[in-house]
């Protein structure tokens, strides 16, 4: 058993650190930036949960605080993302790091077995990460935890010659707001912090003023060892910041900084600039390598580095009219219709922008605040009911757990959207009447529902599917829908509520006495002793 735990051997694992920045200027003037900091712990593999022995951990580049957590709870694969904003797939395309759901999302694959159960380790893990990243991950409890294995598959290499079962735990917290207090611990995990290298650019003042920004921590075990990828993405709007409404940008104008020092421990450090199709721009400085679509820069050889892009012939930026076609093959819109506090309709429309049909998995994980009524589910394309486009439907209603909580309900299905058409899915929902102690302090705000997830499905080619002809391609990456806000029946905890109570009581009293007067008759009954 100890053979599996490579860390137990006294050799210090080989550690390598890469950093990468991808910049994509978009047609609507926005600039998408994606930082990826990868640390590879060569030759290492996750701790087996059945192995009680704890060994010393010696890291040079790999962050110790995270390593300890991973070791303690024997996590094979971990994905944490903290995002703010709504990723606009239509105009920004697929993100470089796919986890872009609003708020916090945490999922982990853990090997089963050992003295502690998976759920106990999951609880420990989320509390430890909550402490590490200053985020309310502790509230990702059993009311929000589910296990949708096909949407979030295991990408790590499992333990060799061992049929250990693996378990997934997935939870989202859409109301989590990401801010500076999350960025600071994030930067501390980097070997050069934000003092050198690409992370030099991550100035909280600017990053948190972008249209969209998010942080991600991804750990998985590969053949080469344990890989930690720290990602930071931000979508800048230079037009908004510039006084003259121009779309020119530079590191200085976007981040208020330049890369003035290279990170000495980085084995590679590259910047990829995806050049736009439209010409008429000036770029400085000259790239170290370039092809038709990508320019490559290296901050190690060229410091200080301030990449700048300008459109000298453009007086002010004009938004393209008509707006450009969607950048992704599939556009999703999710809304909760209805104005009452007791019921509503969950409505999702999937628009295929391609000519060939698209098959995607659709996963909806809803806390027990709302109940889906599956018999009311309707699927139509252009007003015609098309139940044949839905397959492999799995629905788990909210379960009452041992501690009195209700688990989330999950709906997972595979949908086939015909080419150049819109599939509409609607399900009636009823909203729960909460106990008054269950309401949060801001009761009148409503409750956030986590985003739905569209995930790629493996298309079976052996003719197992009944309508294999319809199943075209799938999507390359997961798509997250925006979150929803649901209004539950909320008592007004303030003055008018008291007034209503009081007037109802008065009315009842008056009604009671009048009813008494009308129906009761007072007579004297003679009693015999």
């Amino acid at each position: 058993m100890t053979l599996c735990v490579v860390q137990a051997t006294p050799t210090i694992p080989q550690e390598r650190y890469h950093e990468d920045l991808t910049i994509r200027p978009l047609t609507d003037g926005k600039v998408v930036t994606a930082f990826t900091f990868t640390t590879l712990l060569g030759g290492a593999s996750p701790r087996d949960p059945r192995d009680a022995e704890s060994s010393a951990q010696h890291y040079t580049l790999f962050p110790l605080t995270l390593g300890q957590i991973l070791r303690e709870y024997s996590v094979t694969e971990l994905h944490l993302s903290l995002n703010a904003g709504k990723w606009n797939y239509n105009s920004w395309g697929f993100p470089d790091h796919p986890s872009v759901g609003t708020g916090a999302e945490l999922w982990a694959w853990m090997a089963d077995g050992g003295p502690l159960s998976v759920d106990d380790r999951w609880m420990g893990l989320r509390n430890a990460l909550a402490g590490l990243f200053c985020a309310s991950l502790g509230s990702l409890d059993d009311r929000r935890t589910s296990s949708p294995a096909s949407a979030f598959p295991l990408s790590s290499v499992p333990f060799p010659h061992d049929s250990t079962p693996y378990a997934l735990r997935h939870a989202t917290l859409p109301s989590e707001h990401v801010c500076t207090e999350n960025l600071t611990p994030f930067l501390k995990l980097l070997p050069c912090k934000s003092r050198a290298g690409l992370a030099r650019l991550l100035d909280p003042q600017r990053v948190f003023d972008t249209d969209w920004h998010g942080l991600g921590v991804h750990v998985r075990s590969t053949e080469a060892g344990i890989e930690l990828r720290l990602g930071a993405q931000a979508v800048f709007d230079p037009v908004r910041r510039s006084r003259g409404k121009r779309r020119d940008w530079s590191f200085q104008s976007l981040f208020d900084r330049q890369i003035d020092v290279a990170c000495p421990v980085a084995s590679s450090s590259t910047i990829h600039l995806v050049v736009p199709d439209i010409r008429g721009y000036n770029l400085s400085p000259e790239p170290v390598a370039s092809n038709d679509t990508v320019n490559v820069y290296s901050p190690t050889s060229h410091v200080p580095l301030d990449i700048a892009m300008s459109w000298p012939e453009e007086h002010i930026f004009k938004y393209p009219l008509p707006p450009p076609a969607p950048q992704t093959p599939l556009s999703v819109k999710r809304t909760l219709y209805g104005s009452s506090q007791t019921r509503g309709v969950l409505f999702v429309s999937f628009s295929n922008n391609d000519h060939s049909p698209i098959t995607v998995g659709y996963l909806e994980t809803l806390p027990a605040l709302v109940t889906l009524w599956m018999h009311t589910m309707k699927v139509d394309v252009g007003g015609i009911a098309r139940d044949d486009l839905v397959s492999d439907m799995i629905y788990h209603p909210p379960l009452l757990l041992a501690n009195g909580h209700h688990g989330p309900s999950t709906l997972q299905t595979t949908l086939t959207i015909p080419g150049k058409s819109t599939l509409r899915l609607s399900v009636d929902v009823s909203k729960t009447f909460l106990k008054y102690t269950e309401h949060p302090p801001d009761a009148m705000r409503g409750w956030d529902l986590p985003p739905a997830v569209l995930f790629p499905v493996l298309l079976l080619l052996d003719g197992e599917r009944t309508n294999a002809s319809l199943a075209g391609q799938s999507i390359p990456k997961r798509i997250y829908t925006p979150t929803l806000l649901v209004d539950l029946p909320t008592p007004d905890f303030s003055m008018p509520y008291n007034v209503i109570i009081l007037s109802c009581t008065l009315m009842t009293l008056i009604f009671g006495s009048i009813f008494n007067l009308l129906t009761r008759k007072w007579t004297i009954v003679k009693m015999h002793d």
Partner: protein
Amino acid sequence: MDRIWPRRQNGNVVRLRRRKNATALIYRNLSKITTALLATGYLWMTLIPIPPLSQGVYIDENALQPAQVNTNWNWQDVHQADLYLHHLEGLRDKNATSEQRASFIRDEFAKLGLSAATQNYTFMTPSSNITGINAYAILNSPRTPGSEAIVISASWLSEVGKEPYNLRGIATVIALAGFLKNYSLWAKDIIFVIGDNYLDGIHAWLNAYHGTIPQNLDTDLLELTSGVIWNALNVDYSGHSFSHLGVFFEGLNGRLPNQDLINSLRLISHYTAGVPLVLYDHLELHDAPQNSLLTSAPEFMKRSPQLREFEHRARNVKRHVSYQARGRPSAPHGLFHRFRIDAITLYAIPADGPHGFFALGRIIESTLRTSNNLLERLHASFFFYILTTPATFMKIGTFLPSAVLVAVAMIFSGLGRWVEAGWVQESSSELQPQGKEDDGKAANATIATVATLQPTWRPRQRPVIPVITTICVTHCIGLLAFAMIDTSCFLQNQVVASWILLIALGLVPQALLTIIPSHPPETAPFSLLLQSFNLCLASTVISITSLLNFSLAATLAVTLGIPLICSHVFFRPSQTSTSHFNKPCQLAVHAAYWVLTWGWLLLPQEVEKAVWNWEVLGVWFAPFVCIVYAPLLMQAGLVGLSVMNEMLLG
């Protein structure tokens, strides 16, 4: 036990006696009590505008922080608004179609980098089909999940002032869209809606946004959506410049927005832009002395500050009641309330100056910042209130009792009739005090003694089936009348049809009277029972309505109170004179009831408007009048007629 029993019995006897006495006292003085309640109720209603009943407004929600920000709306943005206005005036002068207008507005939004779209809609109503095209755009605020939203809207038309087109309002909204996009501080998405026509555009848009598309609306779900809308500001700026900012707040079916929104606007308008805020388009009297009713009054009345104050407040209350009682939205903002959105209309009162786009833009910007501060929906302040002036309001407790007192008077007199119907007075001397035979009969004896002090009474049967049937029939007739009014052929030949309907409905009570079976001599008369039921029903209606829509309840209390309570008196032929002499007088009373019940049919515009409101906006006023109000008065007329009949029959 033996010692306790008698004591208990004694206690019960005392209680019974006390109760009997109290009931007897109330019954003896019933007419006095009813009169007193009625008088108090009506007096209270007339005193609603007096200053001591109002109190100063205040901000209840701490998060709002109105007028605490530095505004950035600048002359450059005013210039943009002027440019948009120029284009819009061109469209107006070209008599552009809805489609041209909507696509122009959509393109302007898209040029600003917002996601914009249009919405076609058609309302099918009995009289005509109403079509239009709305344009809207959504500003997806940076960093936000987009689950909450604020709406800024403007309609193409304006119905408040003299100028029919709300061009400056629309120009303000488009210029604001470009301006607001430059800031990352918005915590909620901002939706810009330009509704076609006056009310129906925004109504169609709201229904499509919330997925509640009614049967008679032909439109598709919106292409672009955002989150839950919390607040909405509707802009109505049709004049050239403005001197005061008016606020309209009454919504569909009498719903009001949270008062915090109006109070915030008042502070912002005053402190941020220096524009005085008034209610509706009612200028203060010192600003517009020609509006006063007191101009023809004697000099001492004209000079009295109290009277002038009273008049000003009474005007505001009257306007409020006229909107709320009819369930009519006072401006397009009122359509939002149905979806639990707090909304108001900012109306720039046309004048030669001194304010324009600059002041209005700053006010809206600051109000948006205030709404943006909200962490929860507005819930702290009042939803039931009467604004007597922008700075003073009445809490529900200071106006609700006035209508309820009238309702209480009605139910008292209804119950009085019920008791009256149950007993018949006898002049026999059969029932004599039996004397005190033993302790057990003491109570009986006391009651008997009480009875002998007054004329002797004998219980009689109260047959309620014919009465309840009659009441149901009258309400069904009301329903039929409503079904007739709500047809295209009625609305097309409105004048003729109104007269036919009016005469037919006037004959209904006479016809009903002939089929009512005459009551056997030992039972209560029909008229007494009908009046009792009629009063109790009307009182219940008023009390319940008063909690939902005070203005409607107060209007009902005024129109129903005395006619229902006194229906048996008005029609009764006086004992001394001959019936022949009384005929014209009774005819007049009859005609008065008839006019009060159905006379509104002769106000064609009012009827048309109410039916339109019901068909398009779903305002309950038209069916309420036909199915509840008119039948109640019809029953009262029937009471009078049957009183007359019973008198003639002997």
